[in-house]
């Protein structure tokens, strides 16, 4: 097996271009599960967890190899909140934002935050350079993204005007190491409230009808909050599976959205 430990982006991009079959490896928390279950035998791997450019993290740009352990201590409030719910301390020490984005699980904990921030995924290839893909064009289905075969996810980028008031919540039936039944990020910026949800559709989604209704209201009464919950419950597209039911997920989506709007309002 061919293993390239890329310490810089150029090395990673060269390897990606030259070994189109090679897998990208960051924290390994998704890829290695597949390997351990014998579902997958990589023929080549490009390790990026120690790639300088990808480990950079500054306002508005989170390098793809930044771990959840680092993000737990960040200033983006909802991001720090959600980082703390990912897996376990062991998983957070290894798992990265870029890995979460690349796997694109419907329940990926970082994804609703990106949606709420109206963020983009920055990708790069040796031949075509860097491009920014808006979140709703990047996530195209269950574990499906628009990343091209020669590209590397380099960062998650959020706009300069991304809201600072932001709150996260996640329902799971265990208090650690649990995959989200429903997750939700609500943010309040100059343009009003934004409501994003995870695990209730093939991709992270925004509850746009609820946002429009809420942002059209002059004041947020209990009645308005109830309407937010109702609209969010109607707008999500959850399934019934071994983790929960469609009806519970609808219900919990509305409750979480309502509670997070209240939390944002109080902030």
């Amino acid at each position: 097996m061919h293993f390239v430990a890329a310490r810089d982006l150029a090395t990673a991009l060269d390897a990606r271009a030259e070994h189109p079959d090679a897998e990208l490896l960051a924290g390994g928390t998704d890829l290695m599960v597949e390997v351990n279950l014998s579902h997958h035998r990589p023929t080549g791997v490009i390790g990026v967890r120690a790639c300088d450019e990808l480990m950079e993290w500054r306002d508005g740009r989170i390098g793809a190899a930044v771990t959840w352990a680092r993000l737990e201590d960040g200033s983006a409030r909802a991001l720090a909140q959600l980082a703390r719910t990912i897996g376990s301390p062991q998983i957070r020490a290894a798992g990265t934002m870029g890995g979460n984005v690349a796997t694109a699980s419907p329940a990926g904990d970082g994804l609703p935050w990106i949606a709420a921030m109206d963020g983009s995924v920055e990708v790069a290839s040796r031949e075509r350079g860097t491009r920014l893909i808006p979140w709703n064009e990047f996530f195209v289905g269950v574990k499906q993204t628009s990343l091209a075969g020669d590209e590397v996810i380099t960062a998650v980028v959020t706009p300069d005007d991304a809201p600072h008031v932001q709150e996260f919540a996640k329902v799971g039936v265990r208090n650690a190491m649990v995959i989200a039944t429903v997750s939700c990020v609500v943010a309040k910026g100059a343009d009003g409230f934004r409501i994003a949800l995870g695990a209730v559709a093939p991709t992270p989604i925004r509850a746009t009808r609820a946002e429009e209704m809420l942002n059209a209201e002059a004041s947020i009464s209990d009645l308005v909050l109830e309407e937010v919950a109702r609209l969010v419950s109607a707008e999500v597209r959850p399934i019934t599976d071994h983790r929960s039911t469609e009806s519970y997920r609808r219900h919990a989506s509305g409750v979480l959205a309502r509670r997070l709007v209240e939390r944002c309002r109080a902030a």
């Binding site: 351990n36 279950l37 014998s38 909140q81 703390r84 719910t85 709150e167 996260f168 919540a169 996640k170 329902v171 799971g172 039936v173 265990r174 208090n175 650690a176 190491m177 649990v178 995959i179 039944t181 599976d241 071994h242 983790r243 929960s244 039911t245 009806s247 519970y248 609808r250 219900h251 919990a252 409750v255 979480l256 509670r259 939390r263």
Partner: protein, 725 residues
């Protein structure tokens, strides 16, 4: 590759002696089944059915046997002896006999030079299935007469009537033992047609009986050796890798090891029986039970395993630790295409406890009584007849004691915590303090001690006194519960010898110690050690006087003392379930405090307090360890642990989705012990391994009911059950 042997540590009964295998376990040097290794060994792997019910249309192993590095690929045609195994009924094919009857049923086994080749060979086998309609509904199986066992219990007058009637139907889902150590075995051919099998087991002698029959060998050709066990909880009372790995070793003439991965482990051991229980309680105006009528069906899955005995436990403990003169129970355990069920901690007493304690709470509510008061009024005590079998309770049973002591324990301050990680939803930050409702619930649980219904239940021990000290030879299995520690303490207390070694014996060197299950080893093997030590002490005193030194006593060589220890005899009940099926009883009480977010249906179990009937506390620290660990499993069953099936296929055979409580979920526990000596066993000690798992679950559900007012007739309680969507 040696089985765990024991360092010597000090301590007599009543002391919290540290466990002698602790240092090896803490330093990573303790050898578990999955750590076994012999240079040159082959690696085994298993092909399994992807369907719960399907006909094997084609099985072509050619691509596997012709693969480089593959040493053998065996199917049912290669089973040398009896084609089927099973503890009670021999109904399970060693390998698929043409029809797969549950998901994950073994079809073929491979031995290869390395693990990767073994897995690749399994994948290369050409197999074609014709899926058949699986039977997954236990009521339908019962209606079709597919019963492993049906029991009828009739006691008293069926026409008796109470003034208060509570009727409800309850359901318990499938709980998995989920021991952390995977199933594992290493078979080493002896060059004379036999082999040594080192295997994860709770009872090597019952394994041995089944293995030699299926291998077609004489009993002395196979020796089963205990190995280090990474938890058991019932999962290792039945055959897993045993026969497969032995067949591969005999066929290849090489040592072969099989270690299951987590998914295989979920597929490869029996589960707790799911149950549906229809209950009718009738009581008088004072809350005294007048009549209990129960109809229940348990799902035994595809093969019998220990379903017969599990059903008996469920049926005899239908009413719990309460008096009632008029009882009618109809109980069945049925054959389906769901995962085979068998032993799990509590063994049938868990399912009914959830139902009868829910019924008691409802009676209390209907009568305006405190939950503990209605239990006190009905408490089953020594000298009372069991509500079901009519067996008069012999020895100690402090039912009133566990109620009164529990009631006296202080409740925590009624303050919802500030730290969000201590609220329902935890660090998920779902729940503001203002959305939390607190509830308190109670439950009692009753369990039999050791095996029942006339089973010839014994444990053999051989003590060997040498100039170096004492050796305890036994085939009893330490699964982590602390049996070794207790036995050393017992021997030390009687003989006054500090240097005592535990020598795990294989099946060829000593008779059975019975199963490490049914809360029995403290009393059975502990009892055997006790009896042997007393005999040895008396023998020494007679020959050498009271003060002879060890060197003097053993001057002519080691002195041995063998015993086969039995508990008081039990009987098979009559056709109406009447008689004396049990050797003794143990009772416990639990009080749970929960914080609930009713709107999201999320629960945090704040604490569970317990009072345990222990007979005599031989090692208080070990007892508390059993109580806290058992309560964590009961808590798991109350709110998260469930195997989810679709057409008999387990959808969550992994630790990602089979959720076991973490340290953030497990409740704080306060324990109190009641010491009223049992009428048999060492120093009056009782086995307490199962009690904490039995009544903790209904106590927690009662607390959630108290907080939410929801009926919650099924465990585990899911968020949607609390929300009502």
């Amino acid at each position: 590759m040696t089985a765990p042997t024991t360092e010597r540590v000090a301590g007599v009964i009543g002391e919290s002696t540290v466990r002698p295998d602790g240092v090896a376990k803490l330093s990573g040097n303790f050898a578990y089944g999955s750590d076994l290794w012999i240079d040159g060994m082959l690696w085994g792997a298993t092909l399994r059915s992807p369907y719960a019910h399907a006909r094997l249309e084609k099985l072509d192993i050619t691509p596997a046997v012709t693969m480089s590095g593959v040493r053998a690929v065996l199917t049912q045609d290669d089973v040398p002896g009896r084609a089927r195994f099973g503890q009670v009924e021999q109904d399970q094919p060693v390998l698929c006999d043409g029809v797969a009857r549950y998901w994950g049923e073994p079809v073929a086994v491979v031995a290869a030079d390395d693990e990767e080749t073994a897995r690749a060979a399994v994948a290369a086998i050409i197999v074609e299935w014709e899926p058949l309609e699986p039977v997954t509904d236990p009521d339908a199986a019962r209606a079709a007469g597919e019963e492993y066992r049906a029991m009828v219990i009739r006691r008293g007058d069926e026409s008796a009537a109470g003034s208060v009637v509570i009727e409800a139907e309850y359901e318990t889902a499938i709980q998995d033992q989920a021991p952390l150590g995977p199933e594992a075995g290493l078979a080493v051919p002896d060059g004379e047609g036999g082999l040594d099998l080192h295997v994860t087991s709770q009872w090597v002698h019952i394994d041995h009986t089944q293995i030699v029959a299926c291998l077609g060998l004489e009993p002395d050709a196979v020796r089963c050796h205990p190995v280090g066990i990474g938890g058991a909880f019932g999962a290792r009372e039945d055959i897993s890798v045993h026969i497969h790995v032995a067949m591969l070793a005999l066929r290849t003439g090489r040592p072969v090891r099989i270690v299951y991965d987590r998914t295989e482990s979920f597929a490869g051991h029996v589960k707790r029986h799911p149950a549906r229980m229809r209950y009718r309680h009738e009581a008088d105006d004072d809350g005294r039970l007048v009549k209990v009528i129960v109809d229940m069906v348990m799902d035994g899955g595809a093969y019998a395993h220990t379903s017969h005995a599990v059903l008996a436990n469920a049926a005899f403990f239908t009413v719990g630790p309460y008096n009632c003169d008029n009882v009618a129970v109809d109980a069945s355990v049925v054959r389906t295409n769901n995962p085979p069920a068998g032993a799990m901690r509590g063994f049938g007493a868990v399912q009914v406890c959830f139902a009868y304690e829910s019924q008691m709470d409802r009676l209390a509510e209907a009568l305006g009584l405190h939950p503990l008061e209605i239990r006190r009024r009905n408490a089953l005590l020594p000298g009372d007849p069991m509500a079901t079998s009519g067996q008069v309770v012999e020895g100690s049973l402090p039912t009133i004691g566990v109620i009164d002591l529990l009631e006296s324990m202080p409740l925590p301050d009624d303050v919802i915590p500030d730290d969000p990680s201590l609220l329902p939803g935890g660090t998920g930050l779902t729940t503001p303090r203002g959305s939390v409702v607190r509830g308190v619930g109670y439950a009692l649980g009753l369990k039999n001690l050791a095996f029942s219904e006339g089973f010839d239940d014994y444990s053999e021990v051989r003590l060997v006194l040498t100039s170096a000290g004492l050796e305890i030879h036994t085939a009893a299995i330490e699964v982590g519960q602390g049996l070794v520690t207790i036995c050393l303490q017992i021997a030390r207390s009687i003989l006054g010898i500090e240097n005592i070694a535990w020598v795990p014996a294989d099946t060829s060197t000593i008779g059975s110690a019975g199963s490490t299950s049914a809360s029995r080893q403290t009393q059975m093997t502990g009892g055997a050690v006790h009896e042997a030590a007393v005999k040895l002490r008396d023998h020494i005193a007679e020959r050498f006087g009271d003060d002879a030194a060890l060197e003097e006593i053993t001057v002519d060589g080691p002195i041995e003392q063998w015993v086969r220890y039995r508990h008081p005899p039990t009987e098979e009940p009559d056709e109406l379930g009447q008689g004396n099926p049990h050797a003794g009883f143990v009772v416990a009480s639990h009080r749970a405090v929960v914080d609930v977010d009713p709107e999201l249906g999320l629960v945090r179990i704040v604490r569970v307090d317990t009072v345990q009937d222990v007979g005599k506390a031989l090692n208080p620290q070990a007892i508390v360890g059993q109580l806290e660990g058992g309560i964590a499993q009961g808590a798991g069953f109350a709110i998260m642990e469930e195997l989810i099936l679709e057409d008999g296929v387990i959808l969550n055979p992994n630790f990602t989705d089979y959720l076991i409580p973490t340290i953030l979920d497990a409740p704080d526990v306060e324990s109190r012990l009641i010491e009223e000596p049992a009428h048999w066993g060492p120093f009056g000690a009782k086995g307490i391994g199962e009690s904490p798992t039995i009544s903790s679950t209904p106590a927690i559900v009662a607390a959630i009911r108290a907080a939410t007012g929801r009926p919650l007739n099924r465990v585990p309680v899911r968020p949607q059950d609390i929300v009502g969507v």
